[in-house]
């Protein structure tokens, strides 16, 4: 098992590429970015690794830190743990066996489909839901960015998250156990590498917040794998029969997939982080009274829309749908006795809180309102905070000044000039 850092983040800034524009600033769903001295800065307590900034940055200055292929050599036996979205990446083929076999050419000894774990989680969810054991509407625990969003912004919804492990974690443990039986090697000699569509999964493996212990040895970006395989895949002659997942698990790659396998018709499928926030707001106000299952995915279209995928999410979805028509509904699930339950709910992290002391917080909040009155309300981001309200917040927290607002500064300069001309004050010579 790996040691974990509490605030490890996959999403990072490439300082040299950053122009200090305000694109990422305004898209960040937790207001975790500021621009200071012409460069973006990610506030690590707030970042949920959704990867929205990676998606929108016009200068590619945001990247996701994942593992390289060199890490494979740390293990005697390696397994590619394949997210179902991977099957939708190739224009040349929809043959699952071929796509999975191609991974063996990259140095992996075996492959294991996460769709198998997904099928098990679907089954478990159906049973829990049917047995009335879930707080409804329940929220799928599959998307780590959504779980972290809930942990920082929606503390009241933490208990609505389904208390099951992610398909990735369940599959990783199953894959390792299977390999131990097959090879006789020790568990630590087996490397299980997740082929990931997103940064959030990389963080889920490495941070100390999402899961306490992980069975994933490393996370490799799907686009890195794609780059090595795009040309090679059509030259592969000997195709092994490796596909062992059914459509129920594979459809988790696209939005609506896991929800439709939840066993209730009262489900909604929400994709894209802004839409997720809107629905969670409503849920917090008790408005979703006729809904039982909420599939909430941070990326547009679901995992196929992840920032580390190679293909656009619409095309990938079409391919996944076609592939699923050829698969049996259920297939090789996970038969080992492995816990399906998670190792604990996410912990509320009140990062928006102004101060530990309520009275101080109230004073700061009032001061914030006063400052906000003086700001122009344009939410232009030129000050380096995402909007006027956050600038007011940054000012009361002591991280910014009112004159960071260019409109406030302009107004003050005008006043100064007026004062100078009205009182016939002579300005010193410039030369």
């Amino acid at each position: 098992m790996m040691t974990k850092e509490p605030y490890w983040h996959s999403v990072r800034l490439e300082r040299d590429f950053c122009k200090g524009c305000t694109t990422c600033l305004k898209q960040c769903p937790t207001q975790a970015i500021r621009v200071q001295n012409g460069k973006a800065k990610i506030l690590k307590e707030r970042c949920i690794d959704c990867g929205e900034c990676i998606r929108v940055c016009p200068y590619h200055a945001k990247k996701a830190v994942t593992d390289g292929f060199d890490k494979l050599s740390d293990y005697t036996y390696t397994i590619a743990l394949v997210a179902p979205a991977f099957l939708g990446q190739f224009s040349k083929t929809e043959d699952c066996d071929l796509i999975l076999t191609s991974l063996l050419y990259l140095g992996f000894d075996d492959v294991y489909e996460v769709a198998r774990g997904a099928q098990e989680i679907s089954k478990e969810t159906r049973e829990l839901l049917k047995g009335g054991e879930l707080m409804t509407p329940c929220i799928s625990s599959a998307c780590p960015a959504v779980s972290r969003l809930i942990a920082v912004r929606f503390p009241n919804l933490i208990h609505h998250i389904i208390p099951l492990r992610s398909p990735m974690e369940l599959s990783a443990e199953a894959a390792r156990r299977e390999a131990v039986e097959k090879t006789g090697l020790k568990p630590e000699e087996i490397g299980v590498f997740f082929i990931s569509p997103c940064a959030a999964k990389a963080t889920a493996v490495k941070d100390g917040v999402t899961v306490k212990e992980t069975h994933v040895s490393g996370v490799i970006a799907m686009k890195d794998v794609y780059l090595r395989l795009a040309q090679k895949i059509s030259t592969i002659q000997e195709v092994k029969h490796l596909s062992s997942a059914g459509s129920i698990g594979t459809l988790w790659a696209t939005s609506g997939g896991e929800a439709s396998a939840s066993g209730t018709k009262r489900w909604i499928s929400v994709d894209g982080i802004d839409n997720v926030i809107r629905v969670l707001e409503d849920m917090e106000d008790d408005k979703l009274t006729d809904i039982e299952y909420v599939e909430a995915l941070a990326c547009p279209g679901g995992c196929v829309g992840g920032p580390l995928t190679a293909e656009n999410n619409f095309v990938a979805r079409s391919r996944i749908n076609r592939i699923c028509e050829t698969l049996p509904e259920e297939c090789g699930g996970i038969h080992q006795e492995i816990p399906r339950a998670w190792d604990g709910a996410p912990v509320y992290r009140p990062v928006m809180k102004l101060n530990e002391n309520l009275e101080t917080a109230m004073q700061m909040a009032m001061e914030m309102e006063d400052i906000l009155e003086r700001l122009p309300g344009l939410d232009c981001g030129s000050c380096g905070s995402p909007n006027c309200r956050t600038l007011a917040e940054d000012i009361v927290r002591g991280y910014a000044e009112e004159t960071d607002c260019i409109f406030v500064t302009r107004e003050r300069l005008r006043e100064l000039l007026r004062h100078v001309s009205e009182h016939h004050i002579e300005l010193p010579n410039q030369d």
């Binding site: 009241n156 009140p350 309520l358």
Partner: protein, 137 residues
Amino acid sequence: MVFHYDVDGNDFTLAGEISSKVKKRLKQLGLPPEVIRKVSIAMYEAEINMVIHANGGAIDVEVTPQAVHITFADQGPGIPDLEKAMQEGFSTASNEVRELGFGAGMGLPNIKKNSDNMTIDTKVGEGTTIKLVINIA
């Protein structure tokens, strides 16, 4: 700490906006999640009531270290039979309103359920004032 809001009558799309704003502010104050939950549910219901029955009104929220006090005041038709209005499922909302998914008769009972103290002062033809207290500790 006091916040004042005016509720626009007859616009369902705006209903809920104020409770959402208040929720954000209470999160910044770091109030316990359970308090925030009660406030936002009670406020949303009361806001909807104001829009459906009273053509809008005003909301005042006062936060003290001990409790959140909310006052909803409108100049609407008033509640003729308060006892009935407090029963779950009782509603005088129009069909048009019901078609929008409101008016299920859960408003007042739900507001009461999500507060630690509720007082209603209503006069037919003059209006209604509801005062809520939600304790912090």
